[in-house]
């Protein structure tokens, strides 16, 4: 069992001596950015033109849904959000720190990416995980 939390998804990087961050892969040929690794760009078809990039921890809310019915054991309600990061990369996650009320959630509201324990979820070996969340920017 790992003493350090493991990343909930492969594109969440947890360096030993620095803050966690999200990693994208950017096509040097057309500029499209992907979460996770790939060798071929699905936008332009270029091969072996991918460079690792550290994604910004800041973005805006693009779309959302407030989820009231999920699978057994999943706490509801929660806000499922699509966020456009400042570099244009789209990412999905939970929006926290806001009431699950459509009147309280605004399109394009500025959000920051924060990293925290994965809601207490552990794998079969008992390993703890770290996840990313979005929360409204202060002020």
């Amino acid at each position: 069992m790992s003493t350090q939390p493991l990343p909930a998804v492969p594109f969440l990087k947890i360096p030993e001596d620095a803050d966690p961050y999200l990693e994208g892969h950017r096509c040097d040929s057309c500029g499209a950015t992907y979460l996770g690794e790939r060798d071929v760009c699905s936008k332009c078809g270029a091969r072996d033109q991918m460079s690792k990039v550290k994604l910004p921890n800041s973005g805006k809310l693009y779309s959302f849904s407030i989820v009231y019915r999920s699978f057994p054991g999943i706490e509801v309600p929660y806000v499922s959000a699509i966020v456009d990061l400042d570099d244009g990369t789209a990412i999905k996650g939970n929006l926290i720190g806001v009431e699950p009320d459509p009147a309280k959630i605004e399109f394009d509201m500025p959000v920051e990416v924060v990293f925290d324990d994965a809601l207490g979820r552990k794998d079969r070996e008992g390993n703890a995980y770290m996840a990313y969340f979005f929360q409204p920017k202060a002020g």
């Binding site: 693009y62 779309s63 849904s65 999920s70 979820r121 794998d123």
Partner: protein, 380 residues
């Protein structure tokens, strides 16, 4: 190339049949479609079978075990919610190519109850509710909220889609439900994923539908042109690259691509269509497809539902069968069931829900992942 015609088509009344097997359910629609044109399995030169739940289970061959093992080639198809349309299109293509002149397409599904989708797979820990939601109601809610973001579409407008389709289904004896659902009831139903309430989600049901497709020469030889329906266009598209499509399945661009190609193939436009069966897997989705299929300009879908243009009796009736929202959505059968619905109107046999004077109709399905199938049909 020859023109291809639907000469026989039918569907079973959708419902829940836990005591029957998938091949048994599929066989029932297959026999009904054969009876519709007075042919038998011995007249069929190939079978194209669509089913998702038992995609590796040779469902087509097992249907033949129920209705006659004549030794014809069988192609089993799985393509998410476009499965039935894909089976139909493969059958159509085989006739167009001149391989065969009389073939059978069947779509069948047996569904459990409950949520579809989710992001629970893979290694490590479940991601559902941790990194957003991958459930279908949430995914289509997010797609609807993108429309709300652009055009101010309201919860009430989305809900009106469900009121309309449930009303239509009261006129369709083959729909799962025939129940009126007033606006307040739709909006106050259990919220599943805002803005989709329970009554704004399609119904998981068991069902099957089937069609017999012939070349023009064969249809004439068999004396079946009187009730034949001409396939004016058959088009499929996958989702072209879009900037958010890794996190937000894109149902719009593949529908637009397929629609443009289908109108070109048929040599007509949206203004020439008399009725449409489109993929209302959720109420939010139907609104998007008014624009994707060119029924109105971008941003006008809310007005279309407000003004009743898409209701039976309106300018362009949409989902007069009750749609997936009330007729039900047996995934692999849906794409042929909507071909049955449009064909029935073109034949003037739709009874109480008949779209008067219907001459040309369009069917649309979309499977997330994504696969879009569009057919344009015309009374022969």
């Amino acid at each position: 190339m020859t023109d291809a015609y639907i000469v026989g088509v039918d569907m079973i009344k959708f419902g829940r049949f836990p005591d029957r097997t998938v091949p048994q359910i599929g066989a029932q629609a297959a026999l009904m479609a054969l009876d519709d044109c007075g042919l038998t399995i011995h007249d069929m030169q190939a079978l194209y079978s669509g089913n998702l739940g038992q995609a590796s289970g040779m469902v087509g061959q097992r249907i033949l075990q129920e209705i006659g093992q004549t030794g014809i080639p069988v192609v089993n198809v799985a393509n998410a919610c476009a499965t039935g349309a894909t089976a139909f299109r493969e059958a159509w293509a085989s006739v167009k190519a001149g391989l065969y002149d009389c073939v059978l397409a069947v779509g069948v599904e047996q569904m459990g109850k409950g949520l579809l989708g989710g992001s629970g797979g893979g290694t490590g820990i479940p991601k559902e509710g941790l990194l957003g939601s991958g459930t279908m109601p949430a995914v289509f809610a997010e797609a609807g909220m993108e429309h709300a973001r652009k055009y101010g579409t309201t919860f009430e407008q989305f809900a009106k889609v469900s009121v309309k389709n449930h009303h239509h289904s009261t006129l369709n004896p083959k729909a799962m439900y025939q129940i009126e659902t007033p606006l307040e009831e739709v909006m106050n139903a259990e919220m599943i994923s805002y803005p989709n309430t329970k009554l704004m989600c399609s119904v998981n049901v068991d069902g099957s539908a089937a069609a017999v497709i012939c070349s023009e020469a064969k249809a004439k030889e068999l004396g079946l042109m009187k009730r034949a329906v001409k396939v004016r266009a058959s088009v499929m598209a996958s989702d072209p690259w879009q900037e958010r499509d890794l996190v937000m399945p894109d149902v719009n661009s593949c529908t637009r691509r397929a629609a443009k190609e289908a109108y070109e193939m048929a040599g007509l436009g949206a203004q020439d269509i008399n009725l449409i069966e489109l993929h209302d897997c959720f109420a939010t989705a139907e609104i998007l497809h008014y624009e994707n299929l060119g029924l109105c300009a971008d941003g006008e879908a809310g007005r279309l539902i407000d003004e009743g243009e898409v209701a039976l009796g309106g300018r362009i009736p949409v989902n007069v069968s009750g749609g997936l929202l009330s007729k039900g959505h047996p995934l692999g059968a849906t794409g042929i069931a909507n071909i049955y619905e449009v064909s029935t109107h073109l034949r003037g046999e739709a009874g109480q829900r008949q779209v008067e004077g219907a001459r040309i109709g369009l069917t649309h399905v979309i499977g997330l992942g994504s696969a879009c199938g569009i057919h344009i049909l015309e009374k022969a």
